[in-house]
């Protein structure tokens, strides 16, 4: 049984111009000790999903349905205190705005110690030793604990937040865009640290990012999210080499790779649907080159295919064929610039 199982989770925001259906029935499982990548573009609902798991959603968000099971226990059904017991002791998170997540008027070391004392019940000395050790584990000198957040570089702040996430040795770690704002060399180092920590501490990692190369570098499995819904899951090797869903195919063609010859990049025409308005049929239909009538009316379910891979597309059975045509199909679509393009 997976360490973290999300079933049919539905979340919506109440905004000035109506209800926004950010998460529309997501089912996702993070196996024990494995790294699951959650890939999606801005506005697809991946951060909302992560914050629902840790149970800290913005005030105007509401969970309409579904379950979040940790080792079989549904967190959403628990009382506030019982849910709080899971926070940081069992599930920890490196938030998206990690750079701004440190209180500017306290030294970083003190903020670490505070968490360990208040939630971990450690004495001041124990907390200080543990934070020194954690700093070393993330490649920071222990002297850095005396600094204030504004005195640290972006890479260092990121590593401090990772160290804080590990303060009470959680079993599940969620990392939301941990390396997006970092330069490529520091990014490499932080990824290496995350990979080592995940292996040595046997963490179940849920990594959220828009960058598929980061997922390829760090994760065992991957789930692709579009317009509040999981459209494809499977091992990284399966999904990246033999994608089933047209959106994943499109992402691969649009992603510039350093190694491959400088082949033409193919964009995905149009832009994601407005989640404030109810959706008819498949959300990707307006941008999909392989769209058929069924796609406009019937919302495809996430159906398993061969080898544990799954995708939510009516033409999943023809995936092998579609994959070969994907390049020209998307190119043809972008050439027509139909309507007001993206």
């Amino acid at each position: 049984m997976a360490q973290l199982e999300i079933e049919d989770l539905t979340i919506q925001y109440q905004t000035s111009h109506g209800f926004v259906h950010a998460v529309r029935g997501v089912t996702l499982a993070v196996e024990r000790g494995r790294a699951m990548g959650l890939v999606g573009e801005s506005g697809c609902g991946k951060t909302t999903l992560a914050r629902a798991v840790i149970g800290v959603l913005p005030k105007n968000a509401a969970i309409l349905g579904g379950t979040v099971r940790f080792d079989g226990e549904d967190l959403l059904a628990l009382s506030a205190d019982a849910q709080n017991a899971y926070r940081w002791r069992r599930i920890a998170m490196v938030p998206q705005a990690a750079m701004d997540s440190l209180d500017p008027v306290y030294r970083v070391g003190d903020q670490m110690i505070e968490t360990m004392q208040l939630r971990g019940g450690l004495s001041r000395e124990q907390a200080r030793d543990l934070s020194q050790r954690l700093f070393a584990q993330v490649g920071l000198e222990s002297s850095r604990t005396r600094l204030y957040p504004h005195e640290l570089s972006g890479g260092m702040k990121q590593r401090v937040v990772i160290a804080m996430a590990l303060a009470l040795s959680p079993q599940v770690l969620i990392a939301d865009e941990p390396v997006t704002a970092l330069d490529v060399i520091v990014q490499h180092q932080v990824l290496r640290i995350l990979r080592e920590l995940q292996k040595t501490l046997h963490l179940s990692l849920l990594l959220i990012t828009h960058d598929i190369s980061v997922v390829a570098d760090l994760c065992d499995d991957v789930a692709v999210m579009y317009a509040g819904r999981i459209v494809e899951t499977g091992s990284v090797r399966q999904v990246f080499t033999a994608p089933q869903h047209p959106y994943t195919m499109g992402l691969r063609n649009a992603f510039p790779s350093l190694r491959a010859g400088a082949g033409p990049l193919v964009p995905i025409e149009g832009f994601p649907p407005d989640l404030a308005r109810p959706l008819q049929g498949c959300a990707f239909a307006p941008r999909c080159p392989f769209v058929v009538d069924r796609c406009w009316t019937e919302d495809p379910a996430l159906l398993p295919a061969a080898g544990g891979q799954a995708s939510a597309c009516h033409r999943a059975s023809e995936a092998a064929l579609l994959r070969t045509q994907a390049g020209e199909a998307f190119a043809r679509l972008s050439a027509t610039h139909l309507g007001s393009t993206q």
């Binding site: 573009e41 490529v184 490499h188 570098d217 350093l258 400088a262 995905i268 007001s340 993206q342």
Partner: protein, 339 residues
């Protein structure tokens, strides 16, 4: 092809206000950069944040005054340009911004924003002619039907659409040089390719000269024929982009290339033997700027600053590649005193 842009020994320092009696510290953003761009070519400026690539772009566009060195545009030093000459230069050199959400005045409609360059440079005699030019520009950047966008405000458009309006605005003065500062870093992956392809088409169509600034080597490989890798305000390696990526020579370029995560899960991971991040450029080390992070640092690296010299098809500034007669050693030290 003639040289459109020639930069020689460019320096730029910012005084960090240390208060009336405080210690006066200066940030050395650009420390002796020289390169040329032939008309019709495209040059990439790569490097981590704080390496001076954005400052260089602002200097070339005369948005900042250099502390030292000369920038020649079409053979003329841009430092002295004033009045009509400056206006003519402004018309020929345009900039595409990193953040499309801030590059358009929130109070202007798309039409008003695109009319602005025509008003400033008095392009087009009648209003109808100006609107015609705006319509063509919007059509050229695939924003169809153009009229639909005339009375829209920036907050009503998506990132991709905004960036296309910015590109359209840059085209309206018929520029010769187009500088793009991280043009797609704020856009979603799926629509980046669309904007990049658009810029490539326009460049070929108008044989534009372009400078692309990006931390993403894969993007520079797609857009630029030549690239300069920058570190602490200096150029450590410059040459054909594909050559730089396939056979990086300077240790920093090697680190940059191997640090990029590969989207192909099968690809073997490469070690990056370089220490932490870029230090803030308050004080410049005497020798090679990369000395204290370089895995192959030698004694000479700490004292003598290497100069760019030809090695194969690229130019490298590194003592690992001494010039045939060790020329780099003497000229380097003499050049040091001169500055």
């Amino acid at each position: 092809m003639s040289v459109l842009l020639e930069v020689t020994d460019l320096y730029k320092e910012y005084p960090l206000h240390g208060g009336v009696l405080g210690t006066r510290r200066t940030v050395h953003a650009v420390n002796g950069i020289s390169f040329t761009v032939h008309s019709g070519n495209s040059l990439g400026l790569a490097g981590e944040s704080g390496c001076g690539k954005t400052t260089t772009a602002r200097l070339v566009l005369k948005l900042l005054q250099p502390t030292g060195g000369v920038i020649r545009f079409a053979g003329r030093d841009i430092a002295g340009l004033v009045g009509d000459q400056l206006l003519a230069f402004r018309r020929q050199a345009q900039l595409v911004f990193q953040n499309p959400y801030e590059a358009l005045n929130p109070r202007f409609t798309v039409l008003r924003a695109l009319l602005e360059p025509l008003i400033i440079h008095r392009i087009g005699t009648s209003a109808a002619q100006r609107v015609g030019k705006v319509t063509d520009a919007l059509h050229r950047v695939h924003l169809n039907p153009p009229e639909l966008f005339f009375l829209k405000y920036p907050h009503q458009l998506s990132g991709g659409q905004l960036q296309r309006v910015v590109i359209a605005r840059a085209l309206l003065t018929d520029p010769v040089l187009l500088v793009a500062d991280e043009p797609v870093s704020m856009l979603d992956v799926s629509i980046r390719a669309g904007v990049l392809n658009l810029m490539r088409e326009i460049e070929q169509e108008r044989s534009l000269t372009s400078i692309y600034i990006s931390h993403d080597l894969a993007l520079l490989r797609y857009m630029c024929t030549r690239t300069a890798v920058m570190y602490l305000g200096t150029i450590c390696e410059i040459g054909p982009t594909a050559e730089l990526i396939e056979h990086p020579r300077h240790p920093y370029t090697q680190a940059l290339v191997s640090a990029v995560p590969d989207p192909d899960p099968e690809a073997p991971r490469r070690a990056v033997r370089v220490a932490d991040s870029v230090p803030t450029p308050f004080h410049l080390p005497p020798g090679c700027p990369f000395a204290d992070r370089c895995p192959e640092v030698m004694d000479i690296c700490r004292h003598v600053r290497p100069l760019l010299h030809q090695v194969g098809s690229v130019e490298v500034a590194c003592h690992l590649y001494p010039d045939d007669a060790g020329q780099s050693r003497e000229s380097a030290s003499s050049a040091q005193e001169a500055r």
